[in-house]
């Protein structure tokens, strides 16, 4: 684990615009009934390089597409678009012996050591399988190689004829590592290699991986949601959110000086054993991760971001702004039950609207329900205006009123990941927004 990796050399793995969509409603029957296929954008335009000998961490919440990215990168799944260059060749164009070569050079260690080993094969056969597939040497040479591998990863050679279910999680993960190393690969994708293990075993496996990297000059892509694992082992880190990379940089920079609000929030969510924990301003993330079927426009993090950029001409406190944005989101999704406002059928909807006399009371009751904070007078007025539209169930008008005033650059434009040493995809860091950063903070 070298602390500094000069990014000058030609990268070993170069990912460019990698996309992987899954399609829902895409069967013959669905087409027959005219249902449009829905794209689940698991991986949506990843671009990064992995240099020889380094460990790149890929971190993000569950469901952000990390594992899909890893599998697509190894061509275990075909990509929707994009290219991955390994040693200068596009992985998705490989055929025949070139593909076989790639399969030898790039290996994967899976998260679940219980399903990654075939329960009906002995562990000796499991580790020997790669050698059999690639026809490496005569049989006794293969056996010897398996024995060497077993010793290297810290397993007893006596156990060669046992079945996977006889081993603990940590031992099974060692078997998986031995299998991945059998063909002397250059590049390993480690897909949450420790998340299924006991804490005490995690460190052993991580140290084993670190030792192996030094010994065999391996390059790692470590996929994990565990920030301490990432910090322990990685040279550089890429932070993923909803199928996109939001920030990428050297591990120290990411942990000590995170730029993207999402990275900050991720780091803040790690519990720390410290007495000043109580004073720490914890920005825990509100809300759920949006669905990758219908990701938010512009910056994908904007629906949860604690630092959304308000329009230039708007004076507003960030928390007020967040409250209004959330309200607008609900109005646009029509996610408010108007019939139950006020309770006890206080307001009667006839033909979609309530009697004009009741509108003020209705707005008061509705505001009570959907806003949990007192807004400054100017904004309260605007919001009330929008809520009044809901008295006649005019969702579109309500949404439009709020959008005209409050629309943020974060929802209009998709931020680019820059090119420099520590790029980040956030409008706060766009060139012409420098002063905005100060405003928001």
């Amino acid at each position: 684990m070298s602390a500094e990796t000069p990014p000058t050399s030609q990268p070993l793995v170069s990912v460019d615009g990698l996309e992987k969509y899954f399609w829902e409603n895409d069967s013959v029957l669905d087409r027959l009934f005219g249902d449009e296929p829905v794209a689940v954008r698991a991986v949506d335009g990843l671009t990064f390089d992995i240099h020889e000998g380094e460990t790149l961490g890929l971190v993000g919440e569950s469901g952000c597409g990390k594992s899909t990215a890893g599998e697509t990168l190894l061509r275990l799944q075909e990509p929707t678009d994009g290219r991955v260059e390994f040693d200068g060749d596009n992985v998705y164009d490989l055929e025949g012996s070139d593909l076989t070569e790639f399969r030898r050079d790039a290996q994967v260690v899976f998260q679940d050591p219980f399903s990654s080993l075939d329960p009906r094969m002995t562990i000796g056969d499991i580790v020997q399988q790669p050698l059999d597939i690639h026809d490496v040497g005569p049989t006794d040479e293969r056996r010897q190689r398996v024995r060497d591998l077993f010793e290297r990863v810290g397993l007893s050679v006596d156990q060669l004829d046992r079945y996977p279910h006889e081993f603990s999680g940590g031992q099974r993960q060692r078997i998986g590592i031995a299998r991945a190393l059998a063909l002397e690969p250059e590049f390993l994708v480690l897909d949450e290699p420790t998340s299924a293990l006991d804490v005490s075993v995690q460190a052993q496996v991580l140290n084993l991986l670190a030792d192996l990297q030094d010994e065999f000059d391996l390059t790692y892509l470590l996929i994990s949601h565990n920030l301490s694992v990432i910090r322990h082992i990685c040279d550089r880190v890429a932070v993923m959110y909803l199928g996109e990379i939001v920030e990428i940089g050297p591990v120290e920079d990411i942990f000590e000086a995170p730029k993207h609000p999402y990275t900050e929030a991720l780091l803040a969510s790690v519990p720390r054993a410290s007495t000043d924990e109580r004073e720490r301003d914890r920005q825990t993330l509100a809300g759920d991760v949006p669905s990758p079927r219908n990701p938010p426009s512009g910056c994908r993090f904007r629906t949860r971001c604690p630092m959304v950029i308000p329009p230039d001409d708007l004076e507003i406190d960030q928390e007020d702004y967040r409250a209004i944005m959330n309200l607008r989101e609900r109005i646009e999704r029509r996610d408010i039950s108007l019939e139950t406002v006020g309770g006890d059928e206080e307001f009667e909807f006839t033909d979609g609207s309530i009697p004009p006399a009741d509108v003020d009371a209705f707005v008061d009751a509705l505001r009570e329900r959907v806003l949990d904070r007192e807004l400054p007078a100017r904004h309260a007025e605007l919001v009330d205006g929008a809520l009044a539209e809901l008295a006649s169930t005019d969702w579109d008008a309500a949404g439009t009123q709020l959008r005209e005033v409050y629309a943020s650059v974060c929802e209009r434009d998709r931020p680019d990941l820059g090119e420099d040493g520590h790029p980040v995809a956030c409008h706060l860091y766009a060139d012409n927004e420098c002063e905005t950063l100060e405003n928001v903070r």
Binding site: S27, V28, L76, R103, V108, S115, D118, Q129
Partner: protein, 334 residues
């Protein structure tokens, strides 16, 4: 391939289940009957007629039998005593019911086992390929299977027999060759067409089970691992998908043997068997004499019932011990 855990499961379930023991005893008895039929039989099953000392034929002959003859215009009743020679009497043409029961077991078991084997050979590869590749391949292959399922199996079997005609394969009898069973038929006829047909009408069940297994196994991480190691589809199918999908196939196979025995009985009852040494055929032969000679139909009927029950009991035992996740009476096959 059979791990210690499976072995211990099997023996534990067996110890705990009375029904499994009953099933095993019955099935072993039926297997012995079938295998050693030429040795155990008292008569050649094809020899017709039973003659008394005066040369009169008395078919059918049971444990006791009254026959009536008109002598000088007067009705005289003769009672034939239970015969130690025919344990279960004779049928309407004087053949020994006991011996035919033994040889009938051979036919049923042969058709059951070979028919199931054929169904496994067709259905399992079909289902594995369909489930493993998924998508359009799966759509197309499973529609074929659905069409097969849409036909009632008996009707389909009759149609196929009609098209193919009846073919029996004589299988030489080792006991007769060894000289320990003199006077027995030198070969046992295997109803070839029937075996083929029962295989062709039941393979779909295996295809569906194998497909379901393949669909879940293809997403297992060890399959992904094999692919990242460079294994091709054929290697993955043979090395990972097939071995891991066998458990439910074995359970289904036992149940299907029983179902096929029933189907074979139905076919031979309807006269499509190609051999007369079959339980279903016997039932059909005896049904005209049910009032006077109940045993002719009843004995082979009991044979069918007991063999089907015993195989099903063993199938339940296998299912319970191989796959503890499936509870109660499932299967739905046949």
């Amino acid at each position: 391939m059979i791990s210690d855990r499976i072995k211990s499961n099997l023996s534990r379930e067996f110890r705990e289940s009375l029904l499994a023991k009953v099933g095993l005893v019955l099935l072993v008895a039926i297997l012995i009957m079938g295998l050693f039929a030429p040795v155990l039989a008292t008569h050649n099953p094809h020899t017709t007629g039973y003659f008394d000392d005066d040369g009169n034929a008395y078919p059918p002959m049971g444990v006791s039998y009254d026959s009536h003859q008109w002598v000088d215009g007067e009705r005289v009743t003769y009672t034939a005593e239970p015969s130690a020679d025919h344990y279960l009497g004779t049928n309407n043409i004087g053949q020994d019911v006991f011996s035919r029961l033994l040889f009938g077991a051979r036919t049923s078991l042969m058709v059951g086992v070979f028919g199931t084997g054929l169904a496994v050979l067709i259905g399992v590869p079909f289902g594995l390929v369909s489930g493993y590749y998924g998508g359009r391949v799966d759509d197309a292959m499973m529609r074929v299977a659905d069409i097969m399922l849409a036909f009632p199996s008996l009707v389909l079997a009759l149609a196929l027999i009609g098209v193919m005609g009846s073919l029996t394969i004589p299988i030489p009898d080792p006991f007769v060759f060894a000289g320990v069973a003199d006077g027995m038929p030198a070969s046992t006829p295997l109803p070839g067409t029937v075996t083929l047909v029962v295989g062709l009408v039941t393979w779909v069940w295996f295809a569906r089970v194998a497909r379901g297994e393949a669909m879940s196994i293809r997403n297992e991480e060890y399959v992904k691992a094999a692919r990242s190691l460079g294994a091709n589809d054929r290697e993955i199918l043979l090395k990972h998908v097939l071995p891991n999908s066998l458990t439910p196939v074995i359970v289904l196979a036992t149940i299907q043997v029983a179902a096929i025995i029933l189907l074979e009985s139905s076919l031979s009852y309807l006269g499509f068997s190609g051999t007369t040494l079959s339980w279903g055929y016997e039932i059909q032969q005896g049904q005209d004499y049910l009032r006077t000679a109940w045993w002719v139909s009843t004995v082979p009927g009991i044979g069918i019932v007991l063999s089907v029950i015993s195989i099903n009991l063993l199938g339940d035992w296998l299912r319970d011990s191989l796959d503890p996740n499936i509870e109660g009476e499932g299967g739905g096959a046949g």
